[in-house]
């Protein structure tokens, strides 16, 4: 029997994961050689290029949202995982406490300092700074300008002589009652003066992060060393607050939903997902469309399925039974990347793609090495 190539409609249908009231269907991808007899599903870069597209929804330094369309979940998930755990950033790694008479214990203070996100000149952060190699037991650490950034925090709380006698606000009664991230001082060493000067200085992303509270007589004197690290080692090194994706929801209205039902249907979805339109004279004139005699009445139309949360509320109502079909597009990933400030959000994604490529490249070399 000769093989019949799939129709466009059939190809679209294959991409949809069905979402029913209590079950899901067609969850796994089927684009593998041998899955559909007679069809060619071999990996082909030209075919991938043709079917793959990127669509931006938002692109700000601290938040980017975009869609990857036409790629498999395993690839999309690799990028997501790399963004969270493998893209390097600079963070406080060692804290040398000379004096800490505040109520916060040394180790708690050190931990709080480590979690503060920092930023600075991109060229210096990404190109100039290199990995710091942890010294072996008993060995002296090799801290130089290209692998260590030094910071200092020296602050003492004192009475404010000019404060009103009836004042109760500690920030007015005392100097430095609150220690903020902006009180941390960057100490450039060697070539760092070139890469991190002026607006490129190493500084906290948010200057107003509260580190500690002091009372007169208490002080904090410490120096810190920042190193490059990755999120898989410690979350403080992760360049993203969140990096996640959703799969594109689909809503298909199979039979007309009209009048009061349409309004109820609209309320089953988040705002903006379902719109209400008037049935046109042309639609009403069409026999068998289900709109006969309803000219001018409101009908439900799908406006923005991307905003749907796929709550399945519509499926709970008897009146919408068989009239609506919910699903998700298996190959459409809507990413949301929120940077902590050291990278631009879109640059984090590009870096993750680059990272996967480098990974594959180095392993290919290793494999050739192994065979040899």
């Amino acid at each position: 029997m000769p093989h019949k190539p799939p129709t466009q409609e059939e190809l679209e249908k294959r991409k949809i994961v069905g979402i029913n009231l209590e079950t899901v269907t067609d969850v796994q991808s089927t684009d593998f050689p041998g899955h559909y007899p007679g069809e060619d599903h071999a990996w082909d870069i030209e075919r991938f290029k043709k079917g793959f597209s990127v669509e931006f929804h938002q692109n700000d330094p601290y938040e980017a949202s975009f869609s990857l369309i036409g790629c498999d979940a395993s690839i999309a998930n690799a990028f997501r995982r790399i963004m969270i755990a493998d893209v390097p950033t600079l963070a406080i790694e060692n804290v040398f406490i000379w004096n800490n008479t505040s109520v916060i214990q040394d180790e708690v203070l050190a931990h709080r300092l480590g979690l503060i996100p920092f930023t600075g000149g991109r060229e210096g952060l990404h190109d100039f700074l290199k990995w710091f190699k942890k010294p072996a037991e008993g060995e002296q650490p090799n801290c130089t300008d290209y692998n260590t950034v030094e910071l200092a925090l020296n602050i003492k709380c004192e009475h404010n002589e000019n404060a009103d006698p009836n004042e109760t606000d500690p920030t007015k009664l005392y100097h430095h009652a609150h220690v903020y991230a902006k009180d941390i001082v960057f100490k450039p060493i060697g070539r760092q003066a070139h890469y991190f000067s002026g607006e490129n200085a190493i500084r906290p992303v948010n200057p107003d992060i509260l580190i500690a509270k002091l009372r007169p007589g208490q002080e904090i004197n410490l120096t810190m060393h920042m190193h490059k690290g990755v999120g898989s080692d410690h979350a403080k090194f992760s360049p993203v607050a969140t990096a996640s994706y959703r799969i594109m929801p689909t809503i298909t209205i199979n039979q007309p939903i009209l009048g009061r039902d349409a309004e109820k249907f609209q309320k089953c979805f988040p705002k903006g997902v379902i719109g209400l339109e008037k049935v046109t004279a042309k639609e009403a004139a069409q026999k068998g469309s289900g709109y006969e005699g309803y000219e001018g009445k409101l009908k439900a139309v799908v406006v923005d399925p991307k905003s749907d949360t796929v709550s399945r509320e519509a499926l709970r109502h008897e009146e919408f039974k068989d009239k609506v079909k919910l699903g998700r597009r298996r190959d459409h990933f809507i990413y949301l990347v929120e940077s902590t400030g050291q990278w631009e959000s879109d640059a984090i994604f590009l870096e993750s793609v680059q990272h996967l490529k480098e990974k594959a490249k180095s392993l290919e070399k290793q494999l050739i090495n192994m065979v040899r």
Partner: protein, 153 residues
């Protein structure tokens, strides 16, 4: 069961799936010994050189298991996907035998005419090509978006 002929299969005791200390297997290159004296002075080179991929015992030309050190689901699943898209591959799967060991295993079985090693190599090359396409399309889309935003603003 008793009448089963002598097969190429290896008893379980002989073929641990991971955490294999130094195996003296002729298909594997034991480069540890040669490396020590050569790269004493260059630390970065030494790190590059450590062999992270190895062929597990019990492998044949067309059916092999590979062990990747310091890899996880990130590469494992992506690699499994592209290898499965190869029509010469009969079977491909990946596993992380134990979560507290930083090791990832890939099993590849191919049809006659190609080898498991070739299929793995093609998979790694395909990932690199894929990444180039994603980068190009992403950069173009970002530029497009910025331009559109500038026009409406």
């Amino acid at each position: 069961m008793a009448a089963r002929p002598e097969s190429e299969d290896i008893a379980m005791d002989d073929a641990p799936t991971s955490h294999q200390p130094e195996v003296k297997d002729d298909t594997m290159v034991d480069d540890e010994g040669e490396d020590v004296d050569e790269n004493e002075d260059d630390e970065e080179e030494e790190e590059e050189e450590t062999q992270r991929v190895k062929l597990l015992p019990g492998s044949t030309e067309t059916a092999a298991s590979f062990e990747f050190a310091n890899e996880g689901h990130t590469l494992g699943n992506a690699l499994r996907y592209v290898i499965m898209r190869n029509p010469d591959v009969e079977f491909c799967a990946y596993a992380i035998p134990h979560p507290s060991e930083a090791k990832m295993n890939v099993r590849i079985q191919t049809f006659e005419g190609t080898t498991a090693i070739e299929a793995l190599e093609k998979g790694l090359r395909d990932i690199q090509e894929l990444c180039d396409v994603v980068t190009d399309k992403f950069v173009a889309a970002a530029a497009d978006f910025a331009q559109k935003k500038a026009v409406t603003a």
